[in-house]
Amino acid sequence: MSDVVEKTLTALPSLLSLDSQPGSAKLSSTSKLGNLIRGITELRSKHEEEKLIQRELASIKEQISSPNTSMRQMKELMVRAIYCESLGYEASFSYIHAIKLAQQGTALEKRVGYLAVSLFLNESHELLLLLVNTVLKDLQSTNLIEVCMALTVVSQMFPKDMIPAILPLVEEKLNHPKEIIRRKAVLALYKFYLIAPNQVQHIHNKFRKALCDKDPGVMTASLHIYLQMIQENPEGYKDLTASFVTILKQVVGGKLPMDFNYHSVPAPWLQLQLLRILSLLGKNDQSTSAIMYEVLDESLRRAEMNHNITYAILYECVKCIYTIHPKSDLLEKAAKCIGNFVLSPKINLKYLGLKALTYVVQQDPKLALQHQMTIIECLDHSDLIIKRETLELLFRITNAQNVVVIVKKMLEFLRISVDDYTTIDLVGKVAELAEKYAPDNEWFIETMNTVFSVGGDMMQPDIPNSFLKLLSEGFDSVEEDRKLRLFAVDSYISLLQEEPGKLPQRFLQVISWVLGEYSHLREEVEPTVVLRLLAKLLDMKQTSSETKSWVLMAMTKLCKGGAGVSVSQEVSETYSSSMDTVLRQRAQELQYLSQDSELRARVLLRDADLEPVEVDSSLSFLDGFVSEALAAGAAPYKPPHQRQEELAQAKALSLEPYGLSLPISMSSCSITDRQSPTLLSMSSGLSGDSADLSHKGGSTTLKLDGVKRVWGREGYLVQREAVEEAAQVEVPSPLRSPSQQADADSSHSQTPTPTPTPEPEQEKQQLASSLFFGLSSQSSVCLMGKSEPTPQRFRRKAKGQSSSAGATEQISNSLVSTSSNVDNLLCNNLLDSNITSEPAVSSSEQTSELSHGLTAANGTCDIEAELTDSDIKGSNPSVTGDNGLVAAAEDPHEDPDRAKDLCLISHLPAELSELCHSEITSLCTNQSLELSACHVQKEDSLVLVVFISNSSDSAIQHILLDLDSEQLEISCVSDSPVEDLRGHGVAACQYSLTVKRPSVHVEVVGTVSQQLPVETLQAVQFSYKLPLTSFIRPLTVSTEEYGTMWLAFSHDTKQNLTLISDDQEPLTATLNVLKRKLQLHVVEVIGMEGILACQLLQDQPCLMHCRVHAGTLAVWLRSPVPDLPDCLIYHCQRALQEH
C-alpha cells in the first residue's frame, strides 16, 4: 500500500469526524455539527435518531428565522440543515434561507449558500427562480471567486427558461484571461446544452474555440459537450477526428504539466474521455477509423504500468478497438490485453475482463473460446457479481448447440438470486433464448414453466404475451404446432393436479388460456376433468380477480354439454352475483353459453374455421363523420408526431423576445444540430405495428446485424480464422495459476498437454465443451456471416415474419433518419435545377481563432499546427456523400474528389448522361478496387449506376457485384455483369430500382468480391441510401378519375402543414413548391382547396387533397400502398420547411 493511502487511512475517520473514538477529540468542542454527528453515532435505534433530529431541526428553525442571526451563524446552521436532510429528514424551511445566504453572504458563506441550494432544490423547484438575480449579480462581480461560484452553481442547476437572461454573460466569460473562469463557463454551457440544446445552437463555433483553448483544463471541459453532441450525431463531427487524435497523442506522450498526472499516468480520465469520443467517431467508418489506429496502438503500448488506472484505460482502449472499423494487428493486441485481464488474480480486473469479453464477443464470438476454462471457473465463482457477469457473457454467445447448458446455468442462478431486478432481467433473457434456440418442444415448455414460476408476477408482461402469441400463431408446420400445444396441455394439466396454489398469477393465466384453447387436442382427457381443475383455481384464496376472469373465459370455451354443464352452472351461479363487474359478466357469459350450444358454436369458433379478420385500418367508414365535423369548424386531427413538432416550434418561438437565439448561420446550425423532434416522431409514427415485435429481441438482433455488417467477410477475417483454428486444436489447459499468467500471452502456440486430469477438472472440461459448442471453426463461419447462425426452431409464420421484419425495418428507418440529417435536409433540393455548389460556410473567423489555438503558453499542448489544419478542412461542412442531385453541367471544381467524380461521370452510359444524376458517392474500397455510385432519374424509372474502378496497374479478375435491398426491387440493366477489369479501368453497372415497400429513405446494400491471385476470395460490403422522393413522378389524371381513385384507396394520413406566404397567393405558392420539389402534379385548384396526384415508380398512385384552414394547409393523402402517404407527408413537410 502506498504511503499516501496509509496516511489517508489513518487520517480520514478523524478528519471526517466519523468516529466516536479517539480521533474525534480533534473536533472542536464547540462545533455543533460535530456534536450532532457524535450524538447520532452513539444512538442505537432509529426511533432515537428521529427524536434527536426533530429536536435539532426545531432548534435550527428557530435560530435561522431570527433577525439577529449573522451570516456566519447562518452558514453554520445551513451545514447542519444539510446534514439533517442527508439523513432523510426534510428541512424545507431552510430553503429560502439558503437562497438568502447565497445572496447576502460573502466568501465561504456565499459558497455554502449556493451549495445548500444545489443540494436542497431540484431543477424544477420554483424557489430556484429567486436565485437568478443573485447569479446575475455574481457573474458581473469583479471578484473572481464570486464569478467562479456563480458559474459552478449554474453548471449544476439552473432554471431552463431563464437561460437567455444569463447566456450573454456566460458566453463573455469564454474569453476571460483566467483558465478557471473559462473552464467553468464551458461547463455551464454544457449544462445548458443538456437541458436546452436549442438555446446554445448558435455558439457551436465557440465550443470549437474552447476545444482549442491553450489551457488543457478548458479543452477537457469542452470534451463533455463534444461527447454528448457526437453521441447524438457522429456524422457531424468527423472532421474533428484528427484533432481528438492529436490531443490524445499529446496526452499519452506526456505533454501535459505534471500536476495532471495521477500516479504517474498522464490525465487518465481525459484519456478515457477521448477514447470514448474516438470510438463513437470510428464506428462503422473505415476512413475515420484509419486516422486513429496509430494512437490506439500507442495507448496500448504506453499503458503497461501495473496500476488500476492503466487497466481502466486499457479497457476503454480495447472497447474502442472493437467498436471502430477493425484492424487485425490492433485486434490481436486487444485480445491479448483481455487475456491479461481475465486471467488476473485480482478480482476487480477479472470482472473488467469479463465485461470487456462480453462486449467483444458480440463482434467476435470465437474470442470466448480462448478463455473457456476461465469462463467456467468464473461461472462457479463465489462472488455473485462475477457469476452474473459470466452469465451475461454466455447470453451473448448462446446458439442452438449450447442453449440447453447455458439456460440451465441461468436458471440455477435465478433460483439463488434474491434481487428482483436481476430476476426480471434474467427471466427475460431466458425466455428470449428459449424462444430463439429451443431444441425441442419438451425443453421449451419446461423452460418456460420455470420462467413463469420463477419470474412470477414481476416479469415483463411481454413474456407471457409473446409466448401465447407463439402458441396461437404457430409455425410453418401444422404437425409441429399440434405437438407443441399438446405438450403444453399435458404439462399444465399435471401442474394443476399437483399444487396450483404455488404458481404465480401470471402463470395461472397462461395455463387457463392454453387449456381453454387447446385441451380439446388431448382427446383422452374429458373436458370435465379440465373444467374441474380450473374450477378449483377459482376456489383458491390467493387467486386474483384478473386470473379468475381468465379462468372463467377458459371454462366458457370448454363447457360443451355433458357433465361440464353442471360444473359451469355451479361456478357461474357463484360469480354472477360477484361484486366485480368483469367477473359478473364473464359468469353470465359462461352461464348462457353453456346452456345454449347453438349460440356457443356460433360465438366461439374453433381455430380452424377462423378467417383472418379484415380491418379497415384507414377507418374510411368515418370519412363522412370527419368531413361533417370539419365543415362544422372542428380542428383537423393531428397525429402525435405533428403535435410534438408544433410544440417544439412553439417553444422555439417563445425565445424570440430575447432575441438571442437567432442563429446567424441557419444552415450550419441545422446540419450540426441535434435531431429535430419530427424525425424522431416520424419514425415512431411509422412503426405502428412494432409492438408486435418483442422489444428486447428486436433490439438485440438489430444491434448484432449492424455489427456484423462491419465485420463482413473481409481480408482480416481470413487470417483470423487461421489463428482460431490453431487455437482450436489445443486442449484447454485447466486452471491457469497466477504464475502462469505470463505464459498466457503465448497460449496461442501452446502445445497440448495431454496429462490426465483429476475428476473435477474433467467435469469442467465437459462443461466447457458443451458451453462452447457451436463456436468452433465450422460454425463460426456462419456466425460471422450475414445469416442467422442457426435455423430458429420456432420460426413464426409468414405473417408474423413480415410484421416483425417490418418493425425491424422501421427501426432501421429511424436509424437512417438519425444518421442522415444532412441527407434529409438536402434531398428536398433534389429537383431544383439550379443547385448551387457546396454551401461554403465562412470560416475565416473560425480559422483565425484556431490559429492561436493550443499554443504552448504554459508548456502544455502544442497541437496548434495540426488543429488549424484539420479545422480548415472541416470548415467545408461535409455535405458530400449525400444523394443530392447535381445538375449534369456543373462547373468543374478545384477539389480533387470532384475531378475524380467528373472522370467517373464520363463513364456514364450515353443514354443517361443527358439526365439529372445525383452526386457520385464513394461506396467502399477493397484493395485496388474502388466502388462509387450515383442514381439517375429517368422519366419512368430510376437507375442506379455503380462505378467499379481499378486503381492498380494489373487487371482484376472475377469481380462479383451483388446488390440487395429490403425496400427495393433491383434488376440489372447491363447485358453481362462485369467480371474482369483491366488496370486503371472503370466499368459502370446499371441497375433499375423499383420500390417494394415505401420508406422515408431506402437503402441498397451489397457486396463486391474479387478473386485474388492467392485463391482467396475477398468481399467487402457497402450500402447506398437514397430518399423516396427519387422515385416520385407526376401522375396526370383528370378530376373525375381522381374522384374514383380517391374512394378506392384505403391507406391514408392527414396532417397540417405550414403555408408558404410569398407575395403570391399562399395556396398556389405552397402547391408550386410541392410541385417543383416533389414532382407532384396539380390536378385542380378550386378556391381554397387543391388536389394533386403523383405516382411511386411504377404505377403506385398517391393522391393528395389539401385545403387552407385557419392559416395552415390541411393535407390528406391517400394511396393503395401502405406507408406511402406517411412517407410522402414527411417529404412534403421537409420540402416546405426547406423552402
Binding site: V4, S14, C148, I180
Partner: protein, 139 residues
Amino acid sequence: MIRFVLLVNRQGQTRLSRYYQPVELSRRAALEADVVRCCLSRKRDQCSFVEHRDLKLVYRQYAALYIVVGVTDAENELSIYELVHNFVEVLDKYFSRIMFNLDRVHIILDEMIQNGHIVETNKSRVLAPLTALDKMADG
C-alpha cells in the same frame, strides 16, 4: 454516468450524500440503507463492484469509512474506483492543514463531479477555489 456518491460509516450511517439525478428525499434513506447493506456485507477479497438494481456500485473502504459511488452500466468501474481514491487524496492534501467540514468536502466534490460526469481530477485545480475562499476569510 455517475448517479450518486455516498460516504457512510461502518454502522451504515450516511455522512455525506450527493445525487446527480433527482431522488425524492423520502426514498433516499431506504435506498442508502439498501446500498450500504450491499457493500458492507462483502468480504475483503470480493470484487469492489456490486450490482444494485439497474446500477453498479463501486465502493472503497478507508478504515471506518466507506465511499460508495453508484454508476450506470456503461461506466468504466475501475476508473471510478480510482476516482474515489483521487478524491480521498485530494481530501488528504487539503485537510492535513485544516479541520474537517462537511461543507468543504461537498465543495471539493462539486469541483470534481458535476451532472454525473467527472469534470476535474487535477488535485491543485480541484482545490484552487476552496483555497482562495480560505484566503479571503483569513485576509
